[in-house]
Subunit: 411 residues, 2 copies
């Protein structure tokens, strides 16, 4: 049977993600990978989770092993209400302002379903988080990209593009502005308070929704927490996506949508036909964990660990990269990623062949362009390799940059 004939337009268009293909190489022995964006498994509170898992299965089996509601565990929602109050000082929420998803990825996909038609426009950042790109692309809608600077999205360009759309009568086609405000994936930068306020002003002016994706916000190494757009503008304007993947464990697959009850209800309806409900077991494990332990206290060692690894990487950059003319990198204030931009003319995808030789891996910036165009940048994660491997990896990468740069006459 010729399966190809049977596929839908979407089915035919599906391709394996570039990251996935590239990371296959990273499992070669003696290789050093800065590619993955996964947490260090030693940060998972395995003893606590093992105890809780066994306990909830024994005692709450008729809930945790059964089908649950599409919106998710009400006890976890209650914990979220408490967390938002305690950590962010957001007091006006109740359980109906939350619903749980299979990681943030599902929330992004549901957002695509709820908001985007083929002729819709989503305003996104450039570089563009790959997971959001693959979710939104399933709706075949259009993107308008706004470049990211050291303090987040270039708001002047955002303003200009919105004005332009308005002049053309197209601003009604814009369904939302998608933004990762803290420790951006892949750009590593944080959106400043001033820019948050300007984005909100523009969203109000043109009556746009903001989709705020914040998986890393609690992993801050230094400086003051900047209030979320969700807090600044309120639920009338902002839907906030959170996840337990970076602060507890990705294997639980729990994301959370916080928003106006009407919108949350739409997410629930979209999830109903998508996968009926998420696992009550993993949600109840998370709920009991939050009930018994102080999350902020629990993640303090994780933050310390990632900060020290980030520092090691920055020191190695200083040592090995400083003499490469025109190189630039982000010193992130939190999260998992830094973003290195090589001098003009470099193509980190092409350079990947050289990196494979030296057994050092990163994600080429091309993976984060909405139109798959060449990029001189690369995403590097510091959270998984041990300190000495970080130094050794940066050293190898320096050689890669030099060899590739010379071969292209760029250095």
């Amino acid at each position: 049977m010729n399966f190809e004939e049977k596929y839908s337009v979407l089915g035919k268009s599906l391709r394996s993600s570039l990251i996935r293909e590239l990371l296959k190489y990273a499992s070669v022995p003696n290789s050093i990978s800065f590619g993955g964006g996964v947490p260090d498994p030693e940060t998972f509170p395995r003893n606590e989770l093992a105890r809780i898992a066994s306990e909830v299965i024994e005692k709450e089996y008729s809930y945790v092993l059964q089908y649950s509601t599409t919106e998710g565990d009400p006890e976890l929602a209650r914990q979220m209400v408490n967390l938002f109050d305690k950590i962010f000082g957001i007091k006006n929420l109740d359980v109906d302002n939350f619903m749980f998803t299979t990681g943030s990825q599902q929330a992004l996909e549901l957002a695509g379903k709820i908001f985007l038609d083929k002729d819709s426009i989503a305003i996104v950042e450039n570089p563009f988080y790959l997971g959001a790109a693959s979710a939104f692309k399933m709706q075949m809608s259009k993107f308008i990209t706004i470049p990211i600077e050291d303090d987040g999205m270039n708001v002047d360009i955002l303003e200009r593009k919105l004005k332009d759309l308005d002049n053309k009568g197209l601003v009604k086609k814009v369904k939302f502005i998608y933004v990762i405000p803290n420790f951006h994936n892949p750009a590593g930068v944080t959106l400043s308070l001033e820019k948050r306020k300007r984005i909100i002003e523009l969203a109000e002016k043109y009556d746009l929704l903001i989709l705020e994706d914040d998986p890393y916000g609690l992993l801050r190494f230094e400086g003051e927490h900047i209030p979320s757009l969700f807090k600044l503008a309120g639920m009338e304007r902002v839907v906030l996506l959170n996840t337990f993947s970076k602060i507890l464990a990705p294997g639980l697959r729990i994301g959370a949508v916080a928003g106006d009850k009407e919108i949350v209800r739409k997410f629930v309806l979209a999830k109903q036909g998508t996968d009926l409900c998420s696992s009550a077991l993993t949600q109840r494990i998370a709920a009991r964990y939050l009930e018994r332990y102080d999350l902020i206290q629990q993640i303090t060692p994780t933050i310390k660990l990632y900060k020290s690894k980030k520092d090691t990487m920055m020191k190695a950059f200083d040592e090995y990269f400083s003499d490469i003319k025109g190189i630039k990198w982000i010193n992130p204030k939190g999260g998992l990623f830094t973003w290195v931009t090589l001098p003009e003319g470099f193509d980190t995808m092409e350079m990947f062949e050289f990196a494979k030789e030296k057994l050092v891996f990163y994600i080429p910036g091309q993976a984060f362009t909405p139109d798959d165009s060449p990029s001189p940048s690369m995403r590097m994660s510091y959270c998984l390799p041990p300190h000495e491997k970080i130094i050794e990896g940066v050293k190898r990468l320096k050689e890669v940059i030099i060899t590739y740069g010379k071969s292209k006459g760029l250095i």
Copy 2:
């Protein structure tokens, strides 16, 4: 902000499922519900699962608490290969013929994504399993419905409709035939071997894919297991959907797709943007469970329990329903459901108001019509209420039928 303006066509069209709305009433004290299709929690092997959960979190934390691959746990896939060999005598499979989903519901939704465009046709059964309907409807494609008889889909009508489509040059628009062969939800019937063979012949003649959904096949009360279409026709023609929800525990949220490697790969790619991966924890729990316990032996008490409850319901039907002229019901050979059809003129949705009065609940057949049209039938599940409640519930339902029938001049 007027959210309604921001929603997509799909977003606007999303409505809460009828079942969900109706089952809200079932939580009233002293009510008896035959509505839900959920397993009895006492059948869940909670002690075994609690032990395994704690053990895999302690010992395999770097796998079970981490992100996993989109295709799912390779150890669970290995267990599936063994199961298919041991239970069904299907020997030509390997791990790449399987992928895991968040319950069957996600597999149905991914099938919709991969195969259905707006102008595609899906051939489905009438009554139509509600979960499949809500998944496929998200692609806005067309349905052609084939009525179900006591031995499954009416194959003569299927043949006629396919011929008709072929004459109109539309048969290429047909992407698959969706069929629940065993202990149909909601119809309770099983597709005969003869009909399975005829469906395959027609699929071959018109070069159609078959999507075989088999959540209940292992829950057989009596008679011989009938080979699956997947076994009869092979992976070239059939994609088989399975789930652990009815044979282990729905709270784990594990469904399985079995098929040709190329098609399985497409499901994986569609899942990547949909939710990245399912929980490695719940999958590894299932894998270890299958490794250590004999599934068939483990589900024997469950089958016994459901059979005895089914027998109680059938006996109660004989006692209370026999004198209602024109009533018909299915005596299922397995699974969770029976399907009761009242005499012409009855509308079980309208009758629901009378059932609410008497505190007895069922799912009106209307919920399973593709176009939401009135139906004289209702789905009744026997697996959750205790024996005495089954008898009392059927007795109440008799009163409901009489009162409603008299009020409409039907009796």
